[in-house]
């Protein structure tokens, strides 16, 4: 063992870092970004859950209860008609609707009062937040009267059920995440590898066009993505009996659109990178926003208000929403059309951008 030789190797490695400014920026910037992202998003409580209240109570108690639904967990909105309120929940525009019938005050006195809660049960953390807030308000409103024990909550699940587990609610997002990981890793390496070996120039000395190269790569990677989705979805169903009430082919279509978009974006990064190390740095840059800002683990309602608009710029948000709606709510293509259009546009723009970038690099 020779200390001088060991130090020679260390010195060489540090010099390599020093010569690669982008990598140097990554070494400093990435941990900072991670800490900020985790701190702001995981520090958040569920808030502003859109909840509709239909108070038909002829007596005063209903209003008293509603006025106690304070705090920022629920974004309470009054609705006149329980049918319309239920339709809003069914359409995914609200998470819950509360219905207090005409005889609420009277029934409360005779200790037989019922509050109907119409719930979208596809997200257990949201269900927990809604029910928790209602129970707390009841305690506050009727504390003196011992009234909280004098009524029952009748839960009516539009989607999911009280049996919907946490794993059911995040499985759709995890499946999309698995696709994101693999497609990004592959596509981010693919162009930079061809560039470094002089292969890109060799390819373009034939009539091959950049867009043809991009589409060729995307088609091959899509085969990989479909195979992988089959494994992940199969494992989720067989090993964990994850709930799927909707169309499995539609879930595949969502994953494929999402995969193609990620491949395009990965190839843009790959074309922009000067070496494989720079290309790989792109992976966490995509991964962290996709993990934290998109409702995969925690509902979008748990993201602090200031960061919430960022979610709409992360494609994973739409993939997660579509997978969630298809698998847990059983929605069809028409119901997730916005997600499909956004993911389709993402795929088209990303592929074209990749072709333009590769042309510039060649």
């Amino acid at each position: 063992m020779n200390v001088r030789r060991i130090l020679a190797v260390s010195r060489k490695s540090l010099s390599q870092f020093r010569h690669d400014k982008r990598t140097l920026g990554f070494v400093v910037g990435m941990p900072l970004l991670m800490v900020l992202a985790f701190g702001y998003t995981f520090g958040g409580q569920v808030h502003d859950v859109r909840t509709l209240v239909v108070n038909e109570d002829l007596g005063p108690m209903g209003a008293q209860f509603v006025s106690n639904l304070t705090g920022d967990t629920l974004a309470v909105e009054s609705y006149a008609d329980v049918g319309a309120a239920t339709a809003e929940v069914r359409a995914g525009h609200a998470w819950a609707a509360l219905w207090l019938p005409q005889n609420f005050s009277a029934a409360l006195l005779s200790r037989r009062a019922v509050i109907h809660v119409i719930l979208d049960g596809s997200s257990p953390p949201i269900v927990a937040a809604v029910l928790g807030t209602i129970r707390a308000s009841l305690e506050k409103a009727f504390a003196g009267a011992g009234g909280a024990t004098a009524l029952s909550l009748e839960q009516d699940f539009v989607y999911g059920s009280s049996d919907t587990r946490f794993i059911d609610s995040f499985a759709p997002g995890i499946i999309a995440l698995a696709v994101l990981m693999v497609t990004t890793i592959f596509s981010v390496i693919i162009i930079v590898r061809e560039k470094s070996g002089g292969l890109l120039e060799r390819l373009f000395s034939t009539p091959l066009r950049p867009i043809e190269l991009v589409l060729g790569h995307a088609a091959a990677l899509s085969v990989v993505a479909v195979a992988q989705s089959t494994v992940v979805l199969g494992a989720a169903l067989l090993l964990f009996q994850v709930q799927v009430v909707g169309s499995v082919p539609l879930a595949f279509a969502v994953l494929l659109l999402f995969a193609v978009g990620n491949q395009g974006l990965g190839m843009v990064a790959s074309a922009a990178a000067r070496n494989e190390l720079q290309a790989v740095q792109f992976i966490p840059l995509v991964l962290f926003p996709s993990l934290l800002l998109t409702g995969v683990f925690y509902p979008l309602e748990a993201i602090p208000g200031g960061l919430r608009p960022l979610s709409w710029f992360v494609p994973m948000t739409y993939a997660n929403d579509a997978m969630h709606s298809v698998m847990l709510r059983g929605w069809g293509a028409g119901d997730v059309i916005v997600d499909l259009v956004v993911l389709g546009a993402y795929a088209a723009v990303a592929l074209m951008a990749a072709a333009v970038f590769i042309r510039r690099q060649a």
Binding site: G197, G198, L199, E201, R202, L203, F204, T206, P207, A362
Partner: protein, 251 residues
């Protein structure tokens, strides 16, 4: 250009072809004619503009000024790319594919059908003498064999014009001799072989040569004529004399 029968159209005609990279003039006002059916040596030290010229002719970069016609087509010569074979300086074949898979890829990209690819693969691999390695993964091959694979890929579609960028660098003398025999076979069949090199003794084997220095054409013609112009015994000395004359001349 006057209408010529296709086989008489010059392989390459350059008119004032220039390329700048920022402040660097990689190629300045190049006027050059490469006729068909010859071996043409593009000579010069590193940085003379040899690779830049090839990249421009293939449309891999856009000229900053002037133009060129490749097999009769103005730059970028997309339509005639299937008639050009290009062997870059780097061994540009996929290391993680077999020899045969590499050839099939490039054959398909220039529009060959599967039957022709299969037949020609046999032929060209025999020509470059690696027929028995057809199914081998390229990364398992020696450096010389990788270069042969790269040359085979450039030859597969029997191109009319071969652009070979330093094809003999790092190639052992035996293989180098074999390459040259082979180039002469091609020109006998009417093909044009343009090679770049900085080995002057190798350039003497070409029918025609052009000497480049810092992006400028110093001389061109047949090797003997170039030597005679400078009263030199060999191309090395001729080149040095031309560079000295260039430096001495007023700008």
């Amino acid at each position: 250009m006057p209408r010529l029968p296709p086989e008489k159209v010059p392989a390459i005609v350059c008119k004032g072809l220039s390329k700048r990279f920022g402040p660097v003039e990689a190629l300045r006002d190049l006027a050059l004619l490469v006729p068909r059916g010859v071996t043409f040596g593009l000579l010069g030290p590193n940085g003379a503009g040899k690779t830049t010229s090839i990249r421009l002719w293939l449309g891999l970069a856009a000229p900053s000024g002037g133009t060129a016609y490749v097999l009769g087509k103005a730059l970028p010569p997309r339509e005639v790319l299937p008639r050009i074979g290009y062997m870059p300086q780097d061994v540009a074949v996929y290391a993680d594919l077999t020899v045969e898979e590499n050839l099939a890829l490039f054959g398909r990209l220039v529009g060959m059908d599967e039957e022709a690819i299969d037949r020609r693969t046999d032929d060209v691999l025999r020509l470059v003498d690696i027929a028995e390695r057809r199914h081998e993964i390229v990364s398992n091959l020696s450096g010389g064999m990788k270069r042969r694979t790269s040359l085979a890929a450039a030859l597969l579609h029997d191109p009319d014009l071969l652009l070979l960028d330093e094809p003999t660098v790092g190639v052992d003398p035996e293989l180098r001799a074999a390459f040259w025999d082979f180039f002469r076979d091609l020109t006998r069949r009417g093909k044009t072989v343009l090679i770049t090199t900085h080995y002057m003794e190798e350039a003497a084997r070409c029918d025609l040569v052009a000497l480049l220095h810092r992006g400028r054409l110093l001389a061109h013609g047949d090797p003997d004529a170039v030597k005679a112009r400078t009263a030199a015994d060999n191309l090395d000395d001729a080149f040095l004399a031309l560079v000295r004359a260039e430096k001495g001349a007023p700008p």
